[in-house]
Amino acid sequence: MDNCGKATLSRKCDRKQKRCQHIIEKETGIKCTLMASKCIAICNAGLVNGLSEETVYENFIQYGSIDNITMLPGKSCCFVRYKDIEAATRAFDNINGKLNIAQNSKPIYLTYVENIPSPDPIYQNTLPTGLIIIEDFVTDTEENMLLELCNFNELENGSMKHRQVRHFGYEFRYDINNVDKDKPLKEDIPHQCDILWEKLKLEGIDFVPDQLTVNCYKPGQGIPPHIDTHSAFEDPIISLSLGSSVVMNFKNEDVNIPVILPKRSLAIMSSESRYAWLHGITPRKLDIIPTQNDLSVIHRTTRVSYTFRKVRKGECDCQYTQYCDSHAKKLKSKSNSIKNDVAMQLETAHVYDVYDVIALHFSDTRCKPWPNVMKFLYSLQPGSILVDVGCGNGKYLRCIENVFSVGCDRSFGLAEVAGQRGFEVFSCNCLNIPIRDNSADGCISIAVIHHLANEERRLQAIKEMARILKVGGKCLIYVWARDQIRNQEKTFYLKQDRKNRKESSTAVQEQSPENVTVTGDVTLPVHVNRTQFQDQDLLVPWKLRAENTPDNKENTFLRFYHVFEEGELEALCSQLDYIKIVKHYYDQGNWCCIFEKIKKD
């Protein structure tokens, strides 16, 4: 290059520098200086221009030891501090205006600065609450043994843009962000991992997972920040780093904590760190972490992480509700469901009042006990106390000798019918059963809680039955199923229709339902008797022939029903941790569940 060219370049630099120095001072408060200093600012490129800390590091490290790189979010400048002025001068002379790493491969322009912005307070030494890193959790030998368990296909590598993944126990589905809880994989967690639980026990942690995800990260690959779906997994989640160390970023609101996961270490994410902090790995080839007076740099090699989790049964009830999918679901179902006061009016008008009127006729049609209910009653020990919640005409009371049976029903009409048959009955609402805690050996509730108009009330009824049971006592619940055709066979309910009985196919005619406004702003469809249910919340007609009505006129009464989907009754019961589901089954158009009380609530 000739002298003239040099002069041009220098003038251009000067002009650029002047303009940029002004901006730096204005934007960051950092004073620029003409004197050589340990600190250098890149005036025209920063995070907003796509310049990465990694690129700055790789280019500047060639001229000497760096003790800090500061990239400011949202700024088009950044700062490098060398350990000595000589290194800084070398870098300045070689890079200024010559290194094309600014936007669109333009050269970057430098200036000396008096100091660099103080390290961001977000870079703390403290870990997120609940996060524990156990270094050297496995030995080199164990590391190799575990790495050999899960060989990733080398052929796929090279073109692989994303990390490779394998699942054991259950598959984690990234499309739904959850696991298929009903479909365990054939491949369990390899038994070689058992050594890990033994080691954990020594640390005082009792954890045996049933799901394993193995991720293979080549240098440059990462995983976007995320919180593991609450409803999918329990607390804690543990992750073993093999092959390479890496920096994992934990983020909560505006706090960002880079955490080094050394190779052979175990990260335990529990409580807040599991439920409320996003964690992710930035896709890059090296990690740079500013420490007190230095930079720590990790050159990534291939890292394999073993993440062990325990699949959650039921819903999450953590306190970190804003991050909780279970909580969101609950809120949504609450806002969609019938409000409590309306539910009460609906139940009064379309359940209790109806049963009071149709009690006698209804009772005449309900004589035959169901065999599977009888089976449950026969399983009770002699001398047991049995409560029939919603006993109707009392057909299950005193079915069996040697059991002291009490029945209750919200309908006076039905309770009276049962009372006249000589049974021990009282009337009450199943939401508040006037029986002492832990006093019944057995409890049945046959075709009752499907009359309650929202989920909160149906759960409350189950809670009441669980409350009155003794520990070890069992309860049987029957509810009407939405699905009246199982295994290609129509239920008795559908067969009762003569038309359906003749048809050989299982197709049941669909008729569009009529809608009725029941109370307030709630409109419900009226079910066409002897057909499949079209909705979950609906009104089912009960026809009373003229001779059965007080005024000798034929009349149709509408009863409210919530027909249950498959798994719905179980899901309700499994919300209570003091009961254990013994059995659940489908019986002639009903979903049925037997649970046992395992501890006091």
């Binding site: 040697n402 002291f404 009490v406 209750c408 309770a415 006037p434 029986i435």
Partner: protein, 117 residues
């Protein structure tokens, strides 16, 4: 066994006091084995005071007899009080709140108003 515990502000609500207007006595088959299995599940003092309050003590002792399962005469009396006497009309009274639950046609009405739960 009935309790008014479900009411707001009532913690125990047991035993409920019984006020009988009409009583009915009926005959139920005597099953000594059944009665002796039920007895340990009863709160004996509560049974006695309940029987007293409706004037049908049948000479039941204040304390449970030892080896009652061999005492057929005793079991018969318990059987009678437990199973053969019904309060047809009257009321159950919560010992704490004084709330009365009417008994009509032998059926106690324990339904609470919305503001009571």
């Amino acid at each position: 066994m009935l309790t008014s515990k479900c009411m707001k502000g009532v913690n125990i609500g047991y035993p409920l006091k019984i006020k009988a207007v009409d009583l009915k006595e009926s005959e139920v088959d005597f099953n000594p084995d059944f009665i002796s299995r039920i007895i340990p599940k009863l709160d004996w003092t509560v049974l006695i005071s309940a029987a007293n309050s409706i004037g049908k003590n049948e000479n039941l002792p204040e304390n449970l007899l030892p080896e009652y399962e061999k005492n057929t005469e005793f079991l018969k009396r318990v059987h009678h009080v437990l199973l053969e006497i019904d309060v047809v009309n009257g009321e159950l009274i919560c010992p704490e709140s004084g709330r009365k639950f009417p008994i009509n046609n032998g059926i106690p009405n324990m339904i609470l108003n919305e503001d009571e739960v």
